[in-house]
């Protein structure tokens, strides 16, 4: 059992390891002094786009106005203008010509119909966390950000908030370990996809001296990223100790050293938009 207090080793590894798979897959004959864990960072991708900033909104308004003024009339608008012209002429000439167009649907009627239909349509609310009152266990919170799964796990003699992790068994790949970790915490029928075979990050710590032996120096946790395909998790959640949090809120739950390593591979949306 891995110990809780983590003494951070001075070594520092890159976030994306390009190591070939063979290294982890074949069972090593000599006993390892580091225990290996595979952890999964399950992400729910954002469902709506982020709200525009002030400058972006002003720019959109300006561009919209320029485009409107530069644009030509569409078929519907031409038809509407012609019919208005016809009506006006008919009124002025006091119903001189017979009215052939009585049964024809006017463009204005169509517009009224569409307007009514639009008023009947109700869009889904963008801010549902206001409804949920900041309950961090639901998936409907913060629809424009990434949410990731945190579970409470017992390590050593402490209960800690972590990304779900499992110990690596010889003979399987680390990716399988991560998928197994996901399955233990969320059930078997999870529609989540791990995209690549390479881990995203690594967290290494040594056990406290009391537990440390020659064979068991410490543990290495390899992080994999998985994306949630469907948001229906009602039948999947068995254990109650789970949370869905954004990157900023991770600091409330994770230990500082662990958090530092996890933050290295988490892409947060306002940063991505800078491209």
């Amino acid at each position: 059992m891995a110990a809780s207090s983590a003494v951070h080793c001075g070594l520092h590894r890159g976030a994306v390891m390009a190591a070939p798979r063979a290294r982890w897959a074949c069972g090593m004959a000599a006993p390892r002094s580091w225990r290996l864990f595979g952890a999964v960072c399950l992400l729910r991708l954002p469902r709506i786009t982020q709200p525009l900033q002030k400058e972006e909104e002003e720019m959109t308004a300006l561009m919209g106005q320029i485009e409107l003024e530069k644009s030509h009339y569409s078929d519907h608008e031409i038809r509407k203008l012609e019919e208005e012209e016809l009506l006006r002429r008919r009124k002025e000439s006091a119903y001189d010509d017979e009215e052939p167009g009585k049964t024809v649907i006017m463009a204005q009627d169509l517009e009224d119909k569409w307007e009514q239909k639009f008023l009947r349509f109700k869009a889904a609310p963008r801010i549902t966390d206001a409804d949920e009152s900041n309950s961090r266990t639901s998936l409907n919170r913060k629809l424009d950000r990434n949410l990731m799964l945190l579970v409470k796990q017992k390590i050593g003699n402490q209960e800690l908030w972590l990304l779900p992790q499992e110990e690596w068994q010889p003979g399987e790949t680390l990716r399988n370990t991560a998928e197994r970790a996901m399955a233990t915490f969320l059930g078997d029928h999870i529609e989540a996809k791990v995209l690549g075979n390479a881990p995203y990050g690594i967290y290494k710590y040594k056990f406290p001296r009391a537990i440390r032996t020659e064979d068991n120096v410490g543990a290495k946790v390899f992080f994999f990223k998985a994306f949630l395909q469907s948001s229906d998790l009602s039948q999947a959640e068995k254990k109650g100790n789970h949370l869905w949090v954004t990157k900023d809120e991770l600091g409330d739950y994770l230990k500082p050293e662990y958090l530092k390593k996890v933050n290295r591979f988490l892409l947060d949306l306002p940063v991505l938009n800078k491209y």
């Binding site: 994306v16 390891m17 390009a18 991708l45 954002p46 469902r47 709506i48 786009t49 119909k113 990434n146 995209l195 690549g196 075979n197 390479a198 990223k225 994306f227 892409l267 949306l269 991505l272 938009n273 491209y275």
Partner: protein, 212 residues
């Protein structure tokens, strides 16, 4: 002053030409900018055929003859997928939406992102627009009344030499920045995709069927 120049040019030759032009540049700042500006090649006074210096600047006849390019459809290149480097071959990123501006902007964004991340973009093209008419049935059994016209736009970006360690990161960035209403599909490039861009030729197919 410009009337005197042709006579000067005919009489003197070679090295003196440049001197004459230097003089003319200083003397006539206003007229004949072309003569005043450059060297003998830019001169608007070309020698007549009988002049010994006629055709003095020709060089195109010295270059090797180029074979004219045949306008045939190029066969696509296909790369091996899992080589020793774990690289993907040609990958198509297809973006579909009803809103043309949105999908075009998103395609531009993905293209620029790939440029920025040094991923080679082979092609970036648009598939033809599909138009669908939607007829609403007002009540049971009555004639379809209201209709709407929906246009589906598709943009495709083809990239290659994507390493398998970088592919998940790229996919994550694209997925996170996907706007609402745009379908994203990332798949490998196949012959069928290539053929779907070409027009069908029914006569050719008939003849082929007759042959077989």
């Amino acid at each position: 002053m410009s009337a005197a120049l042709p006579k000067v040019l005919c009489l003197k030759k070679g090295v003196l030409l440049k001197q004459v032009f230097a003089l003319s540049r200083a003397a006539t700042p206003r007229e004949s900018h072309l003569c005043a500006a450059g060297d003998a090649l830019l001169s608007c006074h070309r020698h007549y055929r009988s002049h010994p210096a006629h055709g003095i600047g020709r060089f195109k006849y010295l270059l090797p003859k180029e074979v004219p390019k045949k306008k045939k459809d190029r066969v696509q290149m296909k790369e091996i997928n899992a080589g020793t480097d774990y690289e993907y071959g040609d990958i198509n990123i297809q973006m579909t939406s009803y809103d043309m501006c949105l999908v075009e902007h998103f395609a531009q964004y993905v293209h620029k992102l790939c440029n920025r991340l040094s991923i080679r973009v082979n092609e970036s093209y648009a598939m033809p627009t599909k138009t669908e008419e939607v007829l609403f049935l007002e009540g049971r059994g009555s004639k379809p009344q209201l209709d709407a016209v929906l246009t589906t736009h598709q943009r495709v970006i083809q990239i290659s030499h994507l390493s398998s360690t970088f592919a998940p990161i790229l996919l994550e960035i694209i997925q996170s920045n996907q706007p609402e209403g745009v379908h994203l599909l990332v798949k490998e490039h196949t012959e069928a995709d290539f053929k779907s861009r070409l027009k069908a030729r029914p006569e050719l197919e008939e003849l082929k069927a007759q042959m077989n």
